[in-house]
C-alpha cells in the first residue's frame, strides 16, 4: 500500500461566478521512501496539490489516504495533528520565525506535540547536525545566509521524524550554487530512506528525482517513471500512476 494515495482529487475555486479548477481529477500514489518531483509552469496547481497532500487544505472532491488514514474529511484539529507528526514542510521563503533563534525554530513543531524541553532540545540538535547547522543554533534567522536558513528550515521539517517531507520551490530563493547544496542535502536525506516530494517549475531541478510528475492546468499531463520501463521512459497520461 502506498504512503499517499490520491483518487479523483479536485480543488475548485469560485471567483465572481467563474470556476477555477486549480486541481482537476488528480490521481497519484507516492510510496514510502520515494523521491518525487512535481513540476509544472506557474499557476498550474503545484502548490495547491502540495497543500492538499500536506493537509494544509482539503479538496473539493476526491479522497486522500495518508499513511493509512483518510484525511479528506478530517477535522481541522486532526489535520493539525497530522501536519505536526507526519508531515514536514520546506518553503521557498524559509518561513522561520524571526524572533526565535535557530534552535527554538527547530524546536517549534515539538512544542505543539508536547515534548519535554529536554527532549525537544536533544532532538532539535540532532536534526541540526543532520543539516550541518549545529554551530549556528544560537543565531537568529536574520543573521544567516539564505542557504543556512533553508537548512534550518529543513531541520525543522525533519525534527518530528515525519512520514513525508514537502518542499515547495526550496531553491527558488537561492543562487544556483546554494541551490545545488540544498538539493544535495535532499538527495542525502532520500538515501537515508526519507520520503520527499519536491515542487518546482525548473526541469533541471526536477531531474534530480527519479520520478517526475508534470502538471498543467490542474491535471497530471506527464509522468516520468524509471520503474515502469526499467529506464527513463515517457508515458502519456492518463495512466494509473
Amino acid at each position: 500500500m502506498p504512503l499517499v494515495e490520491l483518487r479523483g482529487v479536485s480543488k475548485i475555486y469560485h471567483l465572481g461566478g467563474e470556476e477555477i479548477r486549480a486541481l482537476d481529477d488528480v490521481n497519484l500514489d507516492i510510496d514510502a521512501g520515494e523521491f518525487i518531483s512535481i513540476i509544472g509552469p506557474s499557476g498550474s496547481g503545484k502548490s495547491t496539490l502540495m497543500h492538499i497532500l500536506g493537509c494544509l487544505d482539503t479538496p473539493t472532491r476526491g479522497t486522500i489516504c495518508l499513511d493509512g488514514t483518510l484525511i479528506h474529511n478530517a477535522t481541522p484539529r486532526q489535520l493539525a495533528a497530522i501536519r505536526n507528526r507526519k508531515i514536514g514542510f520546506v518553503f521557498q521563503f524559509f518561513n522561520l520565525l524571526p524572533k526565535l533563534n535557530v534552535l527554538q525554530n527547530v524546536e517549534l513543531p515539538m512544542v505543539y506535540s508536547g515534548l519535554s524541553s529536554r527532549e525537544r532540545r536533544e532532538r532539535a540538535l540532532r536534526a541540526l547536525r543532520m543539516v550541518d547547522m549545529e554551530n549556528r543554533s544560537k543565531h537568529r534567522p536574520m543573521q544567516l545566509s539564505g542557504g543556512q536558513q533553508q537548512r534550518a528550515a529543513i531541520a525543522r521539517a525533519l525534527v518530528n521524524d515525519p512520514k513525508i517531507i514537502f518542499a515547495d520551490e526550496p531553491t527558488g530563493n537561492l543562487d544556483s550554487h546554494t541551490g545545488e547544496v540544498i538539493l544535495e542535502l535532499f538527495r542525502k536525506l532520500s538515501h537515508e530512506g526519507r520520503t520527499i516530494a519536491l515542487v518546482t517549475h525548473d526541469p533541471e531541478i526536477a531531474a534530480v528525482t527519479p520520478r517526475r510528475i508534470e502538471i498543467r492546468d490542474g491535471r497530471i499531463s506527464k509522468v516520468i517513471d524509471p520503474k515502469l520501463a526499467g529506464l527513463d521512459r515517457q508515458l502519456e497520461t492518463p495512466a494509473s500512476v
Binding site: R77, A80, R83, N84, R85, N95, L97, K99, L108, Y112
Partner: protein
Amino acid sequence: MNFWSAIEVGFKEIWAHKFRSLLTMLGIVLGVSSLVAMAALVKGMENGMKEALIAIGGLEKVRVEEQDIPAKQRQYTDDAVGCTINDVYALERSAPLVTLVEPEMRMPSYYRVTRDGKMPDWVNLIGTWPSALEMNEHIVQYGRMFNDIDDENARNVCVIGTYIRDELFGAPDEVGHEIIPLGQTININGEPFRIIGMFQRYESERERKQRELQATQPKAAPQTGPKRSRGWGGHKGGGFVFGWKNRTIYIPLNTMWLRFRAATGTNNIPDPHLSALNLKVASVDELEPALQQARNVLMSTHHGIEDFRFQTQEDWAQNITSAIHHARLSGGFISAISLLVGGIGIMNIMLASITERIREIGIRKAIGATYADVFVQILIESVVIALLGGLAGLAAAYGLVYLLQTLSPTENTPIITFTALGVAFLFSAGVGVLAGLVPAFKAAKLDPIQALRYD
C-alpha cells in the same frame, strides 16, 4: 502547546515590544490603582464614621429633647413641663426595653470655667448622673467618676476631659509630661470645684497613628507668635466628635441644680428641669418597640402634651451609609471607565500585533498549531499584559494613596484592604481575557495557506 510555553511566548512577545507593551499596560495600571485607591478612601471614610458613631454612643443611644408643642395642642402651652427628672424615674420604672436612662442638665453658655486666669474657649459642661459614663462611652483614665453619694450631697466635684486639662494646666506636648490634675481646684462661675477624675484622651485612629509617628520623630519646630487656639478639632480636638468629647466636664446633677439653677426654682428648691435626657436600648433591632414604650411613658408624665421628641442616630447613620454607598459607586464607576479604556488599549495592541504576525501564525499552523493553540496563545499574551499592568497597578495604588493623602489630608486614613487588592487584580485579569477574545478569535481562525502567502 502547553500552558507554560504559551506564557513564555507571551512574555517574549511583550519583551520584544517593550515600549509598546508598557504604554498599553499604563491604562490597566491607572485603572487598577484608581480602583484600589477609591476603595481605600471609601474604607477610610467608613471606618472614620463608624469610629465617630461609636464615640457618640452608638445607634442604641437615643436623645430625648424638648420641642415646640404641636399646633393642635397650643392651648396647653402653659402646662407643658418639658423634660424633668420625673421622666427619668418614670422611664426607669415603666419602660423595660429601655436599659439605661441618663439625665442631662447643661450649663448656660455664659458661665465660665477658669483657673489662674486661664479659660478654655468652649466647654461642654453637664450636670448628670454617674450613668453618663456608660451612656456616652466615656472612660475615666485617672481618678474616678463621681458617685451617687457625691450627687446626693451635691458636692463640688468634677470629672474633666483632656482638653480642659490641656487648657488649664498645660498639654503634654507643651510641658513635656502628662499632667494629672487630680485634687486640683478649678473655678466654675465663681464656685470652686475639685477635680476627681479625668477621661482618657479621645482621638480617631488616624490621630493616634500620627501622634505615635511624631513621638518617634524629632520634635517639630515650636509654635511661634502669641499663643492661639486653632479652633475646633485642629489643636487637640481631632474629629469633631472626639474634640467635643475631650471638652466635656461632668458634675453631679444635684450640684448643677443647687449651685447654678437654684435661682430658677422657687424657695431655693431646685427646679427638676433637664435640658435633655439620653436613653439606651438593648439592641438596635428593638429600637422601634422601645421608642414606642418610652413615648407612652413620657406622654403620661407630660400629661399628654407632646413637647418632646426623640433624636436617634439613625438619620446620621443612614447619611453615612448612603454617603459611603455613593462614594463607592462613583469611585467604582470612574475606575471601571479607566479599566475599560485600558482594556480597549490592550485589544487595540493585540489586534495590531496579530496583523503583524499573520505570517507567524501561518507558520505555526503549518507545523501543527491547532485553533486552540493559537487562540490560547493570543489570549494568554493579552492576559499577561493585563496582569503585569495589574500588578504594577497594585504597587501604584500605594503610591496613589500616599499622594492623595499628602495632597489633601482628610479626617480618615485611606485603608488599602486585601479584598480591594484581590478584586482589582481579578478585574485586571478579566479585562485581559475580554480584551484578548476578539484578537485571539481572529488569529485562530486564520487560514494557514492565506496566512503563509501574506506579507
